[in-house]
Each structure stands twice: as C-alpha cells, then as structure tokens.
Amino acid sequence: MSVKLNYACEGGNFDVAGEASAKIKKTLQRIGIPADVVRRIAIGTYEAEMNVIIHAGGGNVCAEVFPDKTIITVSDEGPGIPDIKQALQEGWSTAPDYVRQMGFGAGMGLPNMVKCSDDIDIQSTVGKGTNIVMTFKHKSEDL
C-alpha cells in the first residue's frame, strides 16, 4: 500500500518554485516519517524541482510513499543533460546569470540529490528530457 502525490511544475515561474516540494514535505510530516528523513527527501526533491523550473520549462514531481521508503520521480521534457557524469561534479552548472542572481545555479543540485538519497537513477536524452528517480529509505540518518 502506498500514498501517491503528483504535482505539475510550471517552468520559469520562480514565485511558485518549491511549492510541490513543500507540499510533499508537509504530507510526509503528517504521515509521521522521521524528521531527518523528511529533511533529506525535502532537500532532494526541492533541488530536482528547481532544476525542472530553471532548465526544462516545466515538468512533474511525483512522490510515492511506502511504509519503508519514499520514491520521488521528477520528469521533464526539457533539453536533457548531454553529459551526466560532468553534471554530477560539484560546481558544474549551465544555469543562466539571472538564476544565479536568485541564489541558484551553483552546480550543487545533482550532487546534493545524490548525497540526500539512498539511491538515484538519472535517465536523460538530449532534446527529449530527463527522468530522475530518487529512493529514500525511512531509516534515521542525520544529514
């Protein structure tokens, strides 16, 4: 049995950027997932949601909560990531200057998703889009 949440993200709309992650976080808190696990999920989801809004012109954020784990799937039909290995390096970013002025685009997003999650799968095709699946086990582990 699982609880499934699905939110659409509007590309380029920074006023609402992060709302999907905030709603998922509140639901996880209500369900009673340990606080440190909720924090890891919230940060990882927010990073992915911001990437969709910055780079992809919109997409979807889906959370599926099982008794022992939460799976976050973030998908878009954006430009895709040409070199995932390079994108996983801290500091690597293709974000435009206006995004940096808003406090993002430091090249920490994907590395932080790896750090926060217990497992991550990144599938991306240039010109077609990106699909990221993060698994978070509901075991306490301070971040």
Binding site: G18, M102, F104
Partner: protein
C-alpha cells in the same frame, strides 16, 4: 545562543517571529547562494543573507533553518514576510554587511556549518 542575543548583537529589527526569540541557535551559515545553503547548512541553523526573494523562505523550510538575518539593510517584501510568519520562521534585518554580521556572531561564539559534518 538565543535568537534574542542575535537581535542585540546585530542591532537588528525583528520583521516577524517576535514570539520566537527564545529559539536556541547553535550554528550559522552566511551565503547569498541558496544552492550552497541546501548543500551545507545543518538543521536549526541561522542563515545570514542579502537575498530577499521567496526562495530564501522555501530553502529555509526545506533545510529546517531556525531563523534568517537579512544583511546590508535589505528588507524582503510583505508577501515574503507573511509566508515566513506562516512557516514560524523568524526574520531579522540588520544594517551590517554579510561579513560583519558573520564576524560579530562568530566572535560571540556561534559556530559555522562545517562541510561534511553531520
């Protein structure tokens, strides 16, 4: 250190969360890059920043920050203060620069969020 000590040390105005000034602050992060805050900030930390957009509140929510200090005399819009109020996130504003504010707090005993430290 309590948040009310930080108000005094930085000669700060309280924008919201006046009733939460007894909150205990153990670590602090100074940055205008929310990407770095998300990557390195520990929960229950104080954030000193010159950035005043809505992403500051969202980042604080995700990382479980205890309070925000806006430096260089920056004041966020009423909408942002309202959202912080709803999230029980105290906001302060000081005329000090980011460097000065962090220096004053460090000298008073507040520690930083060390990279890699849990």
């Amino acid at each position: 250190m309590l948040l009310q000590d930080i108000v005094r040390l930085l000669d700060a105005d309280v924008l919201c969360g006046q009733d939460l000034l007894d909150r205990k602050i153990e670590t602090c992060c100074g940055s205008d890059m929310m990407s770095d805050v998300l990557a390195f900030c520990k929960c229950n930390s104080l954030l000193c920043t010159g950035l005043t957009n809505i992403q500051v509140v969202r980042t604080a929510d995700m990382t479980e920050l205890s309070a925000i200090v806006f430096v260089r005399g920056k004041i966020p819009s009423d909408i942002i203060v309202a959202e912080a109020t709803e999230n029980n996130l105290p906001m302060l504003a000081t005329e000090h620069t980011l460097f000065e504010a962090c220096g004053i707090l460090y000298q008073a005993g507040l520690k930083g969020c060390k990279r890699g430290e849990k």
